[in-house]
């Protein structure tokens, strides 16, 4: 039982470690950026201290050892004995990485880099020595010091009494104990200490009341009593002293071994009663049971002596402290909610939104006046529904911080591997977005940052030659813009080398040699599948993952990615993502009498096909010329099997869509009904997977509409077409 509970606590500990590690890194980065606020240094110290504390409880020795050295160095910084120079902070950041590795190794029972850990431990210790490397002798000393820090294993076993030391020989001690007023002020209790002494053996306790003044002269905050104890025990003097451990400064204490005395025998309860009788005669009738827990000095006994002033001073300090905190930002209190419950809530709210939308036209149909109670009530319902929807989205929303926080370490590692000097600047990390989006953002962002350092930033020599600072800058920012979250990864590197990109694309057969491309179009070539500009595939970016994969994963989130670049000045990658995956902006269209929803993010433009632009091939395959580019024209109705005969393109509408690999296609639909936000319902969860369909939704009139999987439809159609036209298809360019 207790062991299970400990296992759960251990899990909590590792969760908490992750939070502390994030706090640590954030704090160190703030310090690196010149923020020397004492509270930040304290928070950083606290993070390491907390990790050490917990690790000690679980006997994670390696972790305790390293955290202890780290903590010592941070303590020097905290007390201004170590200046946070860039070198010092850089070492600490690397130490934070090592600490993170140690935490994870402990959590996963994995290995960690012993040599690296030891090297950093020495570097940290050297910082403490004013940069002087630790000599062997000093190191040895340090070892000795650390030995005090061996965590003590905890035996959570309350059924078993601790084994009593086998020491049969009883000794007699004479103890004289005279409390000072401070002892009581700190809420220590003479009677309780005497009771503990009594537990050690046979005690004869005498109370010395000779200094007790008359009641009228008695200071309620004073200390007048003293006790003598003759204790026959097998415990040693140290054990007796331990009882008085908390009060040794606040009392006169004398302990003599093997003394004999003829003291009057009194038990503690009788003693207390006697004391109370002396202090306040009216309390004489108090029963022993009550008199034990009751303090010999109850608050009301003390009177209003000066305490009002004390209270005032301290209250003002508390207020000050509160104010300080308010200035440094609100404290977050959080509750943990099961993910499934949250999903269920979102789903229900989705239903509510649909239901509410269904009601509105019904009321109009019923011919009710605009000012009628029902209409007004319905308006209110709509407001409330929207409010609930926003609140649920807010619950699911999290700051992008959790992803952004992983990036500084990545930057350090990639910078070290490429031999570049990089500074990461982040902003807008409190921008919130749906948790699901955040989780799926980590990989593309990681890749983009790697890319920015590896391909974007120049080598230091090159930068210096170009008159730029040696240290390259990568900026990662997030912001809300028109109902979406926009994330930018910018670097101040060389920008895209368009000549090289173009040549490479031609080389790889992605474009024809005489293709006329704007600068923008050339820049966007890097999103084509299989494109890689690095002449030599590097360790970092060239892992077979290109920008096409990044684009693909962003699109899968209903997002868009674009790049702008200025030669010699750098590049900016811009991601635009929906705030939630639960709703989707869609174009509602009609195809063969069916209502379908096409995700708006996939649509580039819509157009009315003209007879001269549409060209047919055999097998029903057609292309449409859009600004002199031949684009496959896909009949959605036929593709989904709604009809066998091809629709007349001239009576329909073409949706120019961009799908996987930046390929453009035109989807032919019969008509556009309108644009609207729809709540996504999984088709797999409710029915089964249907090819060409991504999900379903329920429209305002209660009918189910399918949401088109644009990529799948396009890929399928292209496969058909390629099979048919294989020899002479040359669409690109």
């Amino acid at each position: 039982m207790a062991m299970d509970a400990m296992a759960v606590i251990k899990q909590t500990f590792f969760q908490e470690c992750e939070e502390q590690l994030a706090e640590l890194e954030m704090g160190l980065l703030a310090i690196e950026n010149g923020d020397h606020d004492q509270e930040i240094v304290n928070a950083v110290f606290r993070a390491v201290h907390s990790i050490k504390g917990g690790a000690g409880a679980f006997s994670l020795d390696d972790l305790v050892h390293f955290a202890h050295i780290f903590e010592n160095t941070l303590d020097l910084m905290r007390s201004n004995r170590l200046q946070p120079t860039p070198e010092v902070v850089k070492t600490m950041l690397r130490a934070a990485d090592v600490l993170a590795d140690l935490v994870r190794a402990a959590r996963d029972d994995g290995d960690f880099d012993d040599a690296r850990t030891e090297a950093l431990a020495q570097e940290l210790a050297a910082l403490g020595n004013g940069g002087v490397a630790v000599s062997a002798a000093q190191e040895k000393e340090e070892e000795v010091d650390l030995s005090q820090f061996r965590p003590r294993p905890i035996a959570f076993n309350f059924d078993e009494e601790p084994a009593a030391p086998a020491e049969p020989e009883k000794k007699t001690f004479s103890i004289r104990f005279k409390p000072k007023p401070d002892l009581y002020a700190k809420a220590n209790e003479a009677a309780l200490l005497l009771r503990e002494i009594e537990r050690l053996g046979v005690a004869t306790i005498t109370c010395d009341t000779s200094e007790l003044p008359l009641l009228s002269e008695l200071d309620p905050e004073g200390a007048y009593l003293a006790w003598t104890v003759e204790l026959k025990t097998d415990a040693d003097e140290a054990t007796i002293r331990e009882v008085f451990e908390f009060v040794e400064w606040d009392c006169d204490l004398e302990i003599k071994g093997d003394a004999a005395s003829e003291a009057e025998e009194l038990d503690v309860l009788a003693l207390i009663r006697k004391v109370r009788e002396a202090v306040e005669p009216e309390a004489a009738s108090v029963s022993p049971e009550e008199s034990v827990p009751a303090k010999a000095r109850e608050p009301e006994d003390r009177g209003p002596v000066k305490s009002a002033d004390i209270l005032k001073i301290d209250q003002s300090k508390i207020d000050q402290s509160k104010a300080d905190h308010a200035a440094s930002g609100p404290q977050q209190t959080t509750s943990r909610v099961d993910r499934d419950r949250l999903d269920r809530l979102s789903e229900l709210v989705g239903e509510l939104v649909i239901n509410q939308a269904m009601l509105a036209p019904r009321v109009t149909e019923a011919g009710l006046a605009r000012g009628s109670d029902v209409t007004v009530g319905l308006d209110e319902l709509e407001q409330l529904t929207r409010g609930i929807q926003d609140s649920v989205m807010a619950i699911r929303a999290q700051p992008v911080k959790s992803v952004f926080q992983r990036m500084p370490r990545l930057v350090r590692e990639v910078a070290a591997m490429t031999g570049k000097s990089v500074r990461l600047f982040t902003e807008g990390e409190n921008t919130e977005v749906d948790k699901t989006v955040i989780e799926r953002l980590a990989d593309p962002l990681t890749h983009m940052i790697r890319n920015a350092i590896d391909h974007g930033l120049e080598k230091p020599e090159k930068r210096l030659a170009a008159g730029k600072p040696e240290e390259g800058l990568v900026r990662l920012s997030a912001a809300h813009r028109s109902g979406r979250i926009v994330i930018e990864v910018a670097d101040d590197g060389a920008g895209i080398d368009r000549t090289r990109v173009r040549a490479s694309a031609v080389n790889k057969g992605l474009i024809s040699a005489d293709a006329q491309l704007s600068d923008d179009e050339i820049d966007n070539l890097i999103f084509l599948p299989g494109f890689s500009t690095a002449e030599k595939v590097s360790d970092i970016s060239g892992r077979g993952v290109g920008m096409d994969v990044v684009k693909r994963s962003i699109q899968a989130l209903g997002g868009r990615i674009s790049i702008t670049s200025k030669p010699g000045q750098g590049s900016v990658f811009t991601l635009s993502l929906p705030l939630t995956l639960a709703v989707l902006d869609g174009m509602v269209v009609t195809v063969a009498g069916q209502t379908l929803v096409v995700p708006l993010t996939a649509i580039v433009e819509t157009l009315q096909p003209k007879g001269a632009d549409v060209h047919g091939f055999g097998g029903g395959a057609r292309v449409i010329a859009i600004r002199n580019m031949f684009t496959p024209l896909i009949d959605v109705g036929r593709e989904l099997g709604y009809r066998n005969e091809a629709a007349d393109p001239l009576t329909g509408v073409a949706l120019l869509v961009e799908s996987e690999g930046s390929m453009r296609s035109a989807l032919l639909v019969d008509a556009i009904q309108g644009q609207r936000q729809v709540v996504i319902k999984s088709l797999e969860a409710n029915y089964r997977h249907v090819h060409g369909i991504a999900a379903a939704t329920i429209l305002g009139d209660g009918r189910v509409a399918l949401i088109l999987d644009v990529d799948a439809v396009v890929a399928n159609s292209r496969a058909d077409m390629t099979a048919y036209l294989e020899p002479n298809l040359a669409l690109a360019g």
């Binding site: 409880a57 035996a155 809420a187 309780l192 908390f246 009002a308 402290s321």
Partner: protein, 121 residues
């Protein structure tokens, strides 16, 4: 009626461990996350003993102890501070702030209960 212990610690791990040790020893436990929160909980729950960490955000252990000792209604509540063995200075500072006693981290549940018994019934 079991005695109520208020634990004040910013670490969830430490709070959970104290909770486990104290509930197994028969105490009723209330928790707070820092000094400011601790003073709030103190007024709401009237604990018999307080166990507090020192290093906490918002208001540290010293501030919290002074807050309790300065509160006419609660100044007689025994307070034990959680501290590491090496922190003689911290121990001393806590004592001067008005701490009743201390518990060495990582704590041994038996010693924890011993210490509580030494300052409260």
């Amino acid at each position: 009626m079991s005695k109520t212990v208020l634990t004040v610690d910013d670490s969830r791990t430490m709070r959970d461990m104290l909770m486990l040790a104290l509930t197994e020893a028969g105490y009723h436990v209330v928790q707070a996350e820092d000094g400011v929160h601790g003073l709030e909980v103190l007024r709401a729950t009237e604990p018999d003993v307080i166990v507090t960490d020192i290093n906490m955000p918002r208001m540290d252990g010293y501030g919290f102890i002074k807050g309790v000792r300065g509160d006419e209604q609660h100044r007689t509540i025994p307070i034990l501070v959680l501290t590491t063995e090496s922190d003689a200075e911290k121990k001393d500072r806590a004592r001067r702030a008005g701490a009743t006693g201390w518990i060495v981290k990582p704590f041994d549940p038996v010693k924890l209960v011993d210490a509580i018994r030494r300052v409260a019934t």
